[in-house]
Subunit: 258 residues, 2 copies
């Protein structure tokens, strides 16, 4: 079976399966992006989480406990108020931790070059911890990840270690990150539309070169960077040094006035 046919078979198989997540459906904020990807023959999504605020009751000292034993006290994809967290914390008996987790999206790609395009778009949209996985049999998956998280221990052995005022302040930060995450998803959607349109155009008119189009990816990337203080300096340096010329993240994605 040739690569295209095999990919089509995988895609059909995957998209026909039931959604096995706890929620059982794709998160609202990421539905358009998931649809856009699945409508293209070279992509299909294998998992997604739009971003969420969650309160976990871990075992004592967090990471010593198996994930399956870790209890979710609260999960929300929407901004969250102090009262919700205070009520959920009453059920905590171990070390409760509040987290903000940004978008995580896994996309299977037909060929490495499809993953490269998507990777470039993801990084330019602010999802700078994205990366490709290539399996032994050539299965190619792009994981879209952000550096933009939050992880805050709140209680120890069931005892609250912070004040209500702090939780209020913390949720303000978490809600802002949720909002910024939503903007990045919208930016990703818009960038992807442009990149796919450009790709289609280049395929039908191979003489159109990238540099003839308005260049604005660098601007977009810098906007995303400016709002992000999370990546270690070394990693930042890496992306800055090598990004523009060689890492495939210089595709032009935005109109000048974005």
């Amino acid at each position: 079976m040739d690569l295209r046919a095999e990919f089509r078979r995988w895609k059909a198989q995957r998209l026909s399966k039931a959604d096995l997540s706890r929620k059982g459906s794709v998160d609202e904020d990421v539905v358009d992006l998931v649809r856009l990807l699945n409508a293209r023959e070279q992509f299909f999504t294998t998992s997604s989480c739009a971003g969420r605020i969650l309160l976990l009751d871990g075992g004592i000292n967090g990471f010593e406990v198996q994930k399956q034993n870790c209890c979710w006290l609260l999960v929300t994809h929407k901004p969250c108020v102090k009262e919700d967290v205070m009520a959920a914390l009453k059920k905590a008996s171990g070390d409760a931790v509040l987290k903000f987790e940004p978008l995580v999206l896994h996309v299977q790609c037909r060929q490495l070059q499809d993953a490269q395009l998507l990777h470039a778009v993801a990084v330019d949209s602010g999802f700078r911890n994205s990366g490709i996985t290539v399996g032994k049999k050539g299965k190619t998956i792009l994981a879209v990840r952000s550096t933009h998280g939050l992880e805050v221990p709140l209680s120890h052995k069931g005892k609250l270690m912070v004040t209500e005022e702090y939780i209020d302040f913390l949720l303000n930060t978490a809600n802002q990150k949720l909002e910024e995450n939503k903007k990045r998803i919208e930016r990703f959607y818009s960038c992807l539309q442009h990149a796919l349109a450009r790709e289609t155009m280049t395929e039908s008119h191979p003489k159109i070169r990238e540099k003839d189009s308005p260049a604005c990816s660098k601007k977009a990337r810098n906007t995303a960077k400016a709002q992000d203080t999370h990546v270690p300096e070394e990693s930042e340096k890496e992306i800055e040094n090598d990004g523009d010329d060689d890492l495939g993240i210089s595709v032009t994605l935005f109109p000048e006035d974005y």
Copy 2:
């Protein structure tokens, strides 16, 4: 110029350059790993941070401020005590945030298959957010990343929002994560040695197949997973469903008694 020669040239160029990080040298905990990689002709490291606890004085509400304006009040690669943080916090005038950042390592690889091998080893050692970047000209880099962080807002407009007791508790958690990160680096080093020895052996004796060797990567992976509650469920599912057969993370890396 052929691929091997070009890669050799890149490597020589990179390794002859001065270390441009603030610290100016490779972190102690990662020196052996960096040496092991740079001693192999198919790899060279382009940046590394072994893992650290840091206190940043961000602008108000953290991510609104450019990275270059964000002030480092404290950085340490060693366990940290409350007194250090309390002293550093006195200099905070904006929104101070305490972070634990695990290992980040960027490794340029000669070919995609070299990156695949390294990726498999990284994931099996617990660095589950690792991913490959392939540039337009084929430059292939593996970023080794963990899910194992911590990010805690401590003050707002210079005002401390938590108690000293909380900072003590928080540092206990951060120090444990630093310790666990160190174990993962050691596991990565050991796994990599095995994988490279196996690769060399397979090259000289192509009949030796993986399944003839003691299989223990799954065990190692599960150990790493059990200590990690950070990855969103969907992403976890993805790795679990596809990992063993297709994502190249079933290479056998550990001796049975690891």
